[in-house]
Amino acid sequence: MTTFKYNLLQHTWIKKLATNRWPLLILRSIALGGFVFVILVGILGTPIGNHNFAIVAVWIAWWAALMLLLVPFLGRGWCAVCPIPMPGEWLQNGVVLGPGKNSQGKKRRRFPKPLRSIWLQNAAFSLLALFSVVILTRPLVTAWVLLGMILLAVALSLVFERRSFCRYVCPVGGFIGLYSQLAPVELRVIDSQVCKSHAEKSCYQGSENGSGCPWNVFPGSLTVNTNCGLCMECLRTCDYDNIALNLRTFSADLQPQNQSKLDEAYKAFIMLGSALVYSAVMLGPWGTLKQATSQIGSLPWFGYAMALLALTWGLLPGLFYLTNRVGLFIAPTPHPPHQTFTAYAVALLPLGLTAWVAFSFSFVFANISYLWPALSDPFGWGWNLLGTAALVWTPYLTSLTPLLQMLVLIGGLIWSSYTAQKIAGECKAPHQAWPVMMFSLFVTILLLWLLIA
């Protein structure tokens, strides 16, 4: 079956823009400046979260841009401009702009083989999720978390080759990579035979034109977006002009032949479960639950932590495993249950992404107006730089939000169910998708109840 693909690089100006190092450097430098400023504001500014630019800029404005625009439409677009790996990369390469003297990354160790997966990212996300209410509301904690991330990225880049932090550790990169499979953009080679016959593999090894893939990926074997950071380095190093930046249909990566692994399957459950928990904690009316999430170290917090971990690491995957067993019972195929588990977990990605979009609608529209005063008075010190310091909090689109959430969630359910049917169709066992669709329906109704009921 031929799928829609449109190579943006056939336009000379786009190709020049993508190949030139300056545009990305400028964007990343702005992002790095913003990142450092956010850390400073978090440390020095007012401790009142919604009057502190660090909280408002990161957890409302950036989060809105990430979940409502960047991830759904550009996949790993954020990773291309993320400032966190920049200092480490400069140290690794020995230069700010260009491939540098250590461009091939041979002086660094490879990341330990047992850890070359997204299990660390899964654990890091879950760890942050346990403290998320505190991180989201206390500027100082946000600042320390961001500082910790950048220091860890630097430390790892000094020991290990390429962007090991981004690829194997970053808690945000893990879910961006997973959901980037749904985005209508991809970087791929035009002809994989060219790559196979190219002995030098300059896209992976690096050359005088650029570094070897910072994400430790051989572009010739790319079939999904998960590990491609859209840094455009391979575009600079490819000797045969064999790289395409394609527009494509949404979720083109969700093909049965692109089976996910267990770590990626688990990421789908962690994200879906976290969307459920956050909807209950942050948007629900249960005060006791909110208190429990913020009293770190207390018995209620341990209860919350156990419940979150049990739901995301045990209950949801367990329920889904049983769902798959029912599917295999209804429509037997020779595939072992663990394989159908990971294969069908892919079907949950659209629902997971739309769950986060729906959650973000409520959270962002209700709170984005805190940004206007924070822009004028980032530290909360009584400044009025833009004349917007006195603007009062006003929730936006509150009458439209529930309808949008409903439509987005039903869209996600249809998208997930269609993906499950596609996988089942490829297995010649169309009825195998039924239980997966029922699981998706159950989660959708639960989300509808949490968000709009």
Partner: protein, 159 residues
């Protein structure tokens, strides 16, 4: 397409339209007056959920037990503010049905953005319509794929 299929699809399309748009029968009740004493403290409203019928006259007596708290009612756009130990009153007619969040409108501490309660006015049609449409979406996909399943291929890799 055989006649049975046509009838099925017609029925399904009608069901989708009905669930999405048909006005559901509402229980007719005589509008009454309700007073709710809501205590605001420690990032929670108590009670955090209140249920009334459409057309009811609502009086909310908001009492703050610790710091200054506010109550902003989504969609209605109404708000009231209460100083510590004080009670302030908000009166309105519940003329829109559905579920509406009310939020603290005065920064009251770390968890302020999450200080939320809910007002339920009559049946939450949006939730029931959403759930109904979700079920119908599954039925539609099942029917579509059941028709097309004969042509399926098998290429799933066994690792």
């Amino acid at each position: 397409m055989n006649p049975c299929s046509r009838i099925f699809w017609l029925f399904l399309a009608l069901a989708v339209l009905m669930v999405a748009f048909a006005p559901l029968p509402q229980v007719q009740t005589t509008p009454s007056e309700h007073t709710f004493r809501i205590k605001a403290h420690s990032f929670e409203f108590s009670p955090a959920e209140i249920t009334v019928n459409k057309g009811d006259q609502i009086t909310i007596e908001l009492t703050s037990l610790d710091v200054v708290h506010g109550l902003y009612l989504d969609d209605y756009g109404l708000q009231v503010k209460a100083d510590p130990g004080q009670t302030e009153i908000l009166t309105f007619t519940a003329n829109r049905s559905g579920t509406f969040r009310f939020r603290c409108s005065v920064t009251c501490g770390d968890l302020h953005p999450f200080m939320i309660g809910k007002l339920h006015v009559g049946a939450n049609l949006l939730f029931w319509r959403g759930s109904g449409l979700a079920v119908l979406a599954i039925i539609t996909l099942w029917a579509l794929f059941s028709n097309n399943s004969n042509g399926a291929r098998i290429t799933m890799k066994v690792k």
